[in-house]
Amino acid sequence: MSTNKRLVSALTKNSEEDFALERLIVTTKADSFLEWAKRWGQSNSLWPFPFGTACCAIEYMAVVGPKYDASRFGAEVVRFSPRQSDLMIIAGTITEKQAPILRRIYEQMADPKWVIAMGACASSGGFYRAYHVVQGVSRDIPVDIYIPGCPPTPEAVLQGIMQIQERIKKGVSSYADAQKIEEDELALSTLKAE
């Protein structure tokens, strides 16, 4: 039986995916291979939704701009519709007035989804310990990656995107975790009620 040598050799030898690929040829066990292929595809064609509110949005423009070029990581197709995107990049300060909109847009995004909190303000409120600034978006939505900086350098943002890719390849997302916690809590409360 012939295999595509190039495809197999391009992978790291000892990865699980590699095994799955080899096993597919021998045992035709499609599930794990398909899962791997799905993750591989997802991680290399991220469609970010830039939730840009402030200075970080300008720096995010530089990331997709000609010099840093996010398309090298397959993440250049910026979608302004939450329905079409799977990665939310929160670039900028989230104020109390903005928070309900952020929640709503996050809910509108299709599953599976990942979130990057770009910059100090989105991560923790930054140096705005103020009456109208949300002290970190994790209060409202689950976050996958926090990028430090005010604003972060484009290099840092690219690294954040690469870390998201790794998470996708490992099949981890804060959204799934949050979902699971919610389910557990629900189950616990029904158990208690019984």
Binding site: G65, T93, H132
Partner: protein, 563 residues
């Protein structure tokens, strides 16, 4: 100078002892009963044709000096006479606790609209005949955050965003009303560049009425400034107009320096001019690039951003940061130029010139671009009434630029011209911005070629830390260092309004000092706040797509708008 003295005398004759001249500012006291007649006099006789700013002040923690009057709140107006380029401040004490109300000045200047709303939002000062609507804070907010008894870290979460709603239009029949629809644009929308929200009532594609909702990026700059030292405010100013951060640094530092009477060294002045003009260029590049994206022209955006990137690199060499640089300090600059920076900068200027020429070839004679931007004109008179400044005002044909009218630093010595438009439409704004970039590069070239040598910081002991050698060897230097670190910069008791020409127009800082280490009150006069409030009127009966083009051409920066 003579002109100013004569003007001062005239004001003195007209208003008697209610008028004073302090810190290079004309100051006038009025009360709520005489406010309207005073304003009428100022507008008609003294030709103060533009209202720059209205704001509230809470005096409850202010020590008693000749600046206070024993009443807790006051409403403060800043007016501008464009012919003589004189500014005046009108202070009106208001006894809010006993239900005193201030007559609204919207009938004199339309620009007062949002400023008065903001004063109610922040201080609870009521203006007669005006609805009490929240502007920057959200609709579930309780209390007035800039009052001194409101804690800076007291958050109030919002449960649900405000729904779109229009009162029924009395001027149309029920049949016509049925044709109308409501649509919501923003605050997360590709064309709104951040966090603006437009609620529009449309008939087909035409906007019949619209309401604006702002405050989605209200980061409480003013409250934060009140809780930080003067030098600590500089990073906050970076994030006002984040497309051209150094200009805000310069505006803030200049205000404090003017207050303390510090003359910064020539080299610092020249460096500030270079930074200001470079940031004017990059600000206009973003405006033109992003504005063109809204019209579907993506190519020019990449061209603009490539040039912007070069300036970022210069800033990075200078201080390590790209966007939010905090390059100035009160009394001069943060640091000396690195070796070779001047040559790099000269090269970058040449490259940007080329880049601008490329953008020019892409857009200026592009029929689609021209047709789509020849929309939404505004007359000069209307623009002045709304408080327009900067490129948007100059596009209407008004030749007003602070760099020429009240030249600061070396602007009177360099050779440059102020481009003006004719029609005040979006295309004229584009042309004005393009030409301004070329003129800015011209200024940068001239300054770089004649860069003065010398210290980059003033030697004034009140603001600048002495050199390390002095600190280690000399008791005076050590004490000076200690006092500055422990007690901070302390301007004298008083108030000042100081304005610089930022990329979007007049950026003013109104600073009140009570002699302490923190500013007592800071009010920013953001240029796009005044411009954006006219949006509803400008886009009325225009297509939705024209409104989008207008939004891009106004260059609304949310950080500055909402502060």
């Amino acid at each position: 100078m003579q002109e100013q003295n004569k003007f001062s005398d005239d004001l003195k004759n007209a208003f008697g002892d209610k008028y004073s001249f302090v810190f290079d500012n004309h100051v006038l006291f009025a009360d709520t009963k005489t406010l309207l007649s005073t304003m009428a006099k100022l507008k008609d006789i003294f030709n103060f044709n533009m209202l720059l700013d209205v704001c509230g002040v809470d005096n409850c923690k202010r020590p008693v000096t000749e600046w206070t009057h024993g009443i807790r709140f006051e409403s403060v107006y800043h007016l501008l006479n464009m012919d003589l380029s004189q500014r005046i401040r009108v202070r009106v004490p208001v006894d809010v606790d006993n239900g005193e109300m201030v007559p609204s000045v919207v009938s004199f200047w339309k620009a007062a609209d949002w400023f008065e709303r903001e004063a109610w939002d922040m201080y609870g000062i009521t203006y007669l005949g005006r609805k009490k609507e929240r502007l920057l804070t959200h609709h579930e907010f309780v209390g007035h955050p800039l009052r001194k008894d409101y804690r800076a870290d007291h958050n109030q979460p919002l449960s649900e965003s405000l729904d779109i709603f229009f009162e029924p239009d009395p001027s149309i029949s029920a049949d016509e009303a049925r044709k109308r629809e409501w649509i919501n644009i923003g605050p997360s929308h590709p064309a709104t560049h951040g966090t603006l929200r437009i609620m529009a009532e449309i008939e087909g594609e035409v906007i019949k009425r619209s309401k604006l909702e702002i405050g989605y990026l209200h980061r409480c700059f003013e409250k934060m400034a009140e809780n930080h030292l003067y030098n600590q405010v500089i990073p906050y100013t970076d994030r006002l107009n984040y497309c051209s951060a150094p200009m805000n640094n310069i505006g803030w530092c200049k205000a404090i320096e003017d207050m303390m009477g510090i003359e910064i060294p020539d080299r610092a002045k020249a460096l500030r001019m270079i930074l200001a003009e470079l940031s004017r260029v990059i600000d206009h590049l973003v405006c033109i690039g992003a504005g063109a994206v809204d019209l579907g022209a993506l190519t020019s955006f990449w061209f603009c951003f490539e040039e912007r990137e070069r300036v970022y690199e210069l800033f990075e060499k200078l201080c390590g940061a790209r966007l939010t640089v905090s390059l100035t300090r009160i009394g001069g600059m943060a640091q000396e130029l690195p070796v070779g920076w001047v040559t790099d900068c000269l090269e970058v200027v040449k490259k940007i010139e080329k880049g601008i020429a490329e953008v020019d070839r892409l857009l200026t004679k592009n029929k689609i671009y021209v047709d789509r931007t020849r929309v939404c004109p505004i007359t000069a008179q209307n623009a002045i009434a709304w408080g327009y400044t900067g490129p948007c005002l100059r596009a209407t044909g008004v030749n007003y630029d602070i760099r020429k009218a009240n030249p600061y630093y070396f602007y009177k010595d360099v050779d440059f011209e102020i481009p003006v438009g004719q029609n005040g439409d979006n295309y004229d704004r584009y042309l004005v911005r393009m030409e301004e970039m070329r003129q800015s590069l011209r200024i940068v070239n001239q300054v770089l070629n004649n860069l003065p040598s010398g210290p980059y910081q003033s030697l004034d002991k009140r603001v600048c830390i002495p050199p390390k050698k002095e600190v280690y060897t000399n008791i005076e230097g050590l004490m000076n260092h200690f006092m500055l670190v422990m007690k901070g910069v302390r301007p004298p008791v008083g108030e000042i309004y100081s304005a610089t020409e930022a990329a979007n127009g007049e950026l003013g800082f109104y600073v009140i000092s009570d002699g302490g280490p923190n500013p007592y009150r800071v009010k920013v006069r953001p240029p796009c706040f005044a411009i954006y409030q006219s949006f509803s009127e400008v886009v009325q009966n225009k297509m939705i797509s024209d409104a989008i083009a207008e939004l891009g051409a106004m260059n609304i920066i949310a950080g500055e708008l909402d502060r």
